[in-house]
Symmetry: C2
Amino acid sequence: MRVSRLMLVTLRDDPAEAEIASHKLLLRAGYMRRLAPGIFAYLPLLWRVLQKVSAIVREEMAAVDALETLLPQLQPADLWRRSGRWDGYTAGEGIMFHLVDRQERSLGLGPTHEEVVTELAADLLRSYRQLPVCLYQIQTKFRDEIRPRFGLMRGREFIMKDAYSFHADEACLQRTYAAMDRAYRRIFERCGLRAVAVEADSGAIGGSASQEFMVTAEAGEDLILASPDGRYAANQERAVSLPAASVPLEAGPCRSLATPGQSSIEDLCTAHGFDPTQTLKVLLLLARFAAAPPRGVLVCLRGDQQLNDVKLANAVTARCSDAGALLEIVPLQAEHLATDLSGDAGSVPFGFLGPHLEDPPLRNGDARAVAVPLLRLVDASAAELETFVCGANRIDAHLVGARWGELCPLPEVVDLRAAQPGERCLHDPSQRLEAARGIEVGHIFQLGRKYSEALEARFTNEAGSDEALWMGCYGIGVSRLAQAAVEQHHDADGIRWPVAIAPYTVIIVIASSQDAVQVALAEQLYGRLLRAGIDVLLDDRPERAGVKFKDADLIGIPWRLVVGRAAGDGKVELVDRSGGTGKRELTADAALEELVQSLGLQVASP
Amino acid sequence: MRVSRLMLVTLRDDPAEAEIASHKLLLRAGYMRRLAPGIFAYLPLLWRVLQKVSAIVREEMAAVDALETLLPQLQPADLWRRSGRWDGYTAGEGIMFHLVDRQERSLGLGPTHEEVVTELAADLLRSYRQLPVCLYQIQTKFRDEIRPRFGLMRGREFIMKDAYSFHADEACLQRTYAAMDRAYRRIFERCGLRAVAVEADSGAIGGSASQEFMVTAEAGEDLILASPDGRYAANQERAVSLPAASVPLEAGPCRSLATPGQSSIEDLCTAHGFDPTQTLKVLLLLARFAAAPPRGVLVCLRGDQQLNDVKLANAVTARCSDAGALLEIVPLQAEHLATDLSGDAGSVPFGFLGPHLEDPPLRNGDARAVAVPLLRLVDASAAELETFVCGANRIDAHLVGARWGELCPLPEVVDLRAAQPGERCLHDPSQRLEAARGIEVGHIFQLGRKYSEALEARFTNEAGSDEALWMGCYGIGVSRLAQAAVEQHHDADGIRWPVAIAPYTVIIVIASSQDAVQVALAEQLYGRLLRAGIDVLLDDRPERAGVKFKDADLIGIPWRLVVGRAAGDGKVELVDRSGGTGKRELTADAALEELVQSLGLQVASP
């Protein structure tokens, strides 16, 4: 391809809309343009990258016997209502775009396809003889992101590879899950990415086990916690650790302490010399649901610990399964007592809460606001304290030396704390968690029977009885992966694409387009590289050599062949964009030979 | 691929949802499943067909220097408002799905991409040096069809190839349009389709010239009118012809005729012995617009002629350019006079209208219903009548011997009649139009500057001044093409795919899966065909041979290799699904040699 015909427009300055390097570079180097927030046109160079990534994905999917298909993007609301996800995906913070068609039927724009594929399986799969089977597609997905940002990293329209497997039993699901794990590692390696597999939260997709693949990069939105020995890595949403040991509290009976205005743990400890590990952090929250009135939640953590919102949401969802989708959990404010819980605002001593807080005295003035006791949960860090300091449930007063069992019964113990870098690992307490930032590019799930039971996708097993299918699902963010590659592979001059996913492998730059000798040699090399099957660009634009070199570096083609003054002697300059072999003057034949060999191809005759 | 792993489910009976052969066959043969009206899941077999069609399209697009890209499916309403198409595409009969995002911004789901690509061109194209350039994409498009039907023929979600070219002048646009015409003919030919190019109406896309490509088939929704010499072919929406000569009316002055209850041309002619060609058909219609009050339209045709709705809509749109999008044209009823035109219902003598009808006496009681004179148009067939019979604008009365100029001025003459099969051709009146039905699979347009002017996509020309880009656009219905191929290539037993777009080229059927000799030979042939690069299916299912033969015919694989009783002698049966070479027993080697040669490949050793 000739650069003059490529509709290439590069920008000198960073666009104001971009915050991170890869987003800036993809815009500056003419790979994409923004049409609306989180919505991009993929220009020809980017499309080639995406096609190369897709080709690698297709090869590896075929290698694990997955069948390519294409499922609808418009999905009937009824299907999502049957799986119980319509409300959660469309109300409140729900991220599914949705519309009403001319027949007044609601449709969602697919962010994911568990419902559709399960409906299809219910139709097509009848017998264990058809199993296992795996379908996948590479398709544009939609998410109405609250804050679209970072270009393709968190867009509202993006390309995913999503695969769905069906099995007669859990062991078979686990084998496919393991095969997908290996396929994913091969895909990221072949794309030239450094990626790590981490334990992950299954989120709105659900299921029993899931694992994310993270491309490590400073600009990553996810925090990864990993052990130095490499045996443990998890997304912070999911990570576990041993908290620091607590400082024992001086023995003695439980006593009241005047703590005027000391409503934070920091103020309390400063005023009285307590260590935060001796205190209890008591949080009063409000959970809202799609199909039930809001419910108060009382959470106890050790004073030095932070709440992990994802763990809490999972714990609440599991304990309120009849309430419909969990829409949000927010700190409970005085005004909620009046509006949502119909309680008495004056009765809750915010800032001085203790675990023995009584259920707020609810009024039943509103038929919908049924009196429901607080959901009480305690993290292990707090449950293990023998004695502790906590609020007295009276303004300006705390208790010192309180004990579980005496003060109140121990609530249900659940892992709710956020693991932190530097904490000891569970599998080997001599190791301490290290932090890294990552970009999630893949996520694989053992779904189990969540969807097949909800949508009645059943088969006849070998024994002749009827049961629900076992399912797995496996996603790769194809467009996100392309940008993650840029985030991991760039320098001050521009992108440095890994060869396997570069839009073109070689760029021939004619230093002076007025020089007939240079043009002739460049054209000859261009033809030979094309015939050798190499993806080659010829920069034939009537621009200064410096402009063309800058553009070649910016768009990040792995190899640059400069045809300049030495063309008369049949010599060219070969430049390795990765910096590996530097800049060398070679005869045209030698340069061609080296290129072709390094790319594993056959050299073409002149 | 082994059929046992293909998730193949064929149906014995025609599904109730399908009306035409191709729709029935694609469902029965396991190519697709309906998720919602007009929305289908493309199963693995169909996806392979679509990929083969797409590969041919990509090769031919590359051959005309078009660059592949991918543009957003979600498109901002503002962009469509700037081109003036938002209302026409979303209000009334508008076919664009649209939604409101969480920021309360309206977005449409792209049925086409003129706006998006023109916006991109405005951003990227600055100089004539960058021109011409052509971008294309293969993408799922959306249309909220009023009556989705015929499977992929008129779906609500479907795959299109759409290309857009940009030029410095009209001559260059015409060259690319001609190159696309040739590329389209190659594409359809390579896909094994009989397709004809016909003159077409440009519809909601607009522009100066357009041509459709029709796959001829009885089930086609479009009527094509063509001359036997092949020099003229057009969609009936657009077709022109010479109407039959009119029978001259007896000479004499204009006189009134009592015609009690004779409100139709048929009744009038029967009662008084007139020929319909002597009469005037006067139609009173109401046009509704997005940005203006409705307007009355008076149309005169010769009595034997039919109105062509598409021609009328184009004529009205061109003459009411300030009224915003034309939403619909409906026969004007008495009640419209009161509601829409604020006129006097009693003043219009429906059934006895003459061209000299005065503008309905409008009342200005409603501020929006401004008094606008009727838009008066006459078709050439009526304009050419020297004298004619027409309504007297009084109930139960006509005029005989009326003349243009005497009765009233001749309205603007516009081609408004529907050409009919059997009428004489304009280019050669000795030829008569023949009718055929077709399925539109492609449409190419010279857009001119309609979009570039509306969206200010301008460039600097060679003389250094600024002007709007010239544009063309070029569509192929990829998923519709796949179904059109089935409509054109099937028999009572099932589909007969053209080799180039068949999901697999060869199917090996093991007559008895219990027979080790048959299995061994089949597996050997399967491996050799795979290594030769042939797309081959192995039907390894433990089914009866008859079931497998029926399925092979139904799914329509071009070549069937049956490994049966003669396997012990190294012999197989080779069956050509198209029926060309019949059913023959050959040695395995000879069968392989013949297959490989007929497909133009190299034979692989055992």
